[in-house]
């Protein structure tokens, strides 16, 4: 979706403002939100994915919200979409009368280790690569209405395959339920001038990771 989250190349957002000695969380609720996302995720019932939920936040709201407010808002929508809570329960803060009580999946003893776990087993089988390192390619000019990882600023631009990262599941909304989701992801080098014109440095480049589906031979 050509949404506000797809920010690469915008110029009117103001200066970058680093903060000295920044704490991990600025307010207590921010940590609670991140922890709740992980703990609810550990139930295995949070079927609605995170990124599309964040990108569905209306643009003005998206810009107003902090990172953790976006994640909090998205968590609520994901839990409702996944049937874990109802909107009425969220609004009241109370479980609906007669609703069943689960047992928390994430036990305190396991929680401290959860951030150090990685999904088991990489994907090694799937479609053969359609491109090879060094090959000239062009990012497709496509504008899917759902979630995609192909940033707008790269569409229609030509570059070269710099590395083949191997096989990963395509994250685009259009890929859900499709049998060719497993595709090679490549690092593609785009010259800064190809992306931004001749005001850009002749030396500079942007590297973007792209699934097979995003590319065509140039």
């Amino acid at each position: 979706m050509n949404g506000i989250h797809d920010m690469g190349g915008m110029q009117d957002m103001g200066p970058v403002r680093p903060e000295k000695n920044e704490p991990v969380f600025h307010q207590r609720w921010e940590g609670r939100v991140l922890a709740m996302i992980r703990a609810v995720g550990a139930t295995g019932r949070l079927s609605a994915p995170s990124r599309p939920a964040i990108e569905s936040i209306p643009p003005a709201e998206y810009l107003r919200m902090s990172y953790y407010e976006r994640f909090f808002t998205a968590l609520i929508e994901r839990m409702i979409a996944s049937g874990i809570v109802t909107r009425a329960e969220v609004n009241s803060g109370k479980a609906a009368p007669g609703s069943t009580r689960a047992t928390p999946s994430l036990r305190p003893a396991d929680a401290a280790r959860l951030p150090f776990q990685i999904p088991s087993g990489g994907i090694t089988t799937g479609a053969a690569p359609r491109f090879h390192v060094g090959q000239r390619v062009r990012a497709r000019n496509m504008h899917p209405a759902g979630h995609t990882r192909l940033p707008r600023y790269a569409r229609g631009r030509a570059g070269a395959i710099e590395r083949d990262h191997g096989i990963f599941a395509l994250q685009d909304a259009s890929a859900y339920g499709r049998d060719n989701r497993l595709q090679h992801v490549y690092s593609v080098r785009f010259a800064a001038r190809e992306l931004w014109g001749n005001d850009a440095s002749p030396l500079d480049a942007v590297y973007i990771d792209m699934w097979d589906d995003y590319l065509e031979p140039a």
Binding site: R17, Q27, A35, P58, E69, V85, V90, A111, D204
Partner: protein, 241 residues
């Protein structure tokens, strides 16, 4: 993952849900400017609307038996104290002092970082890119906020902010200048936009005059910002984080 072909959240459905939040927002207009740049944080003594809403959701999830409060405490403790840029600094210092390690690190970042015991979420596929006298690397995630958590911890606010995400790709040298980092015209700037599953860590140049330092002393020089690529490592302590 989701089996439905449509996005689970139609905008209409979302708007309905956002109404309550918008009403609360209107009652607290003071937060408009504060949140606009995602930089300023209210340090207020009365509980904010978000504090109350998050508390309310937490008690609902506890009541329904979905989360355990002590598990949340343990997760937060890990994020605050067990992951962070000191991990990445040790990786960098090892690469500076052990040429064989550096080779492995550049060839397979995830495995070499794992040798030092660092692994975890947002770090299943880490690629390390090396700064040299000819190349300067800069990492961004224009679409979201992707960041190599096992080596850098949670990302700072500026990394997740609209100004950085928007301009790092179109004006990297301008962004670097805002961090006080000047890159000469004859040095190539490479920007890595973390759009897929790879996460990126910059291996900064080892500063001159540090030949006699131990690995531990070198690690103390390495800053988070240098490993994102917005700063260089200085030979003396006292740089930014």
């Amino acid at each position: 993952m989701a089996k439905s072909k449509k996005s689970p959240l139609g905008r209409r459905g979302f708007l309905k849900g956002a109404a309550a939040g918008a009403a609360a927002f209107a009652a607290n207009p003071q937060s408009v400017g504060a949140a606009a740049q995602e930089q300023d944080h209210d340090h207020q003594t009365v509980p904010s609307d978000l504090t109350l809403r998050v508390k309310s959701l937490e008690s609902l999830l506890v009541e329904k038996g979905i989360v355990d409060r002590a598990a949340l405490d343990a997760l937060i403790d890990t994020y605050e104290h067990k992951v962070g840029p000191r991990n990445g600094a040790r990786v960098v210092a090892r690469a500076w002092t052990d040429p064989e390690y550096k080779k492995r690190l550049l060839a397979d970042g995830t495995a070499a970082i794992g040798e030092l015991g660092y692994q975890g979420e947002q770090g299943a596929h880490i690629r390390v890119v090396e700064n040299t006298s000819k190349v300067h690397n800069l990492v961004v995630c224009t679409l979201c906020s992707c960041y190599p958590w096992p080596v850098l911890g949670l990302p700072p606010v500026w990394y997740k902010s609209a100004p950085y995400r928007s301009r790092a790709v179109i004006d990297p040298r301008g962004v670097l200048q805002e961090f006080g980092t000047e890159i000469a015209d004859d040095i190539e700037v490479r920007v890595w936009d973390s759009t897929a599953e790879q996460r990126y860590l910059v291996l900064p140049e080892r500063p001159p005059g540090t030949e006699k330092l131990t690995e531990e002393e070198l690690a103390a020089l390495v800053t988070r910002d240098a490993m994102i690529g917005v700063a260089k490592v200085s030979g003396s302590k006292g740089g930014r984080i």
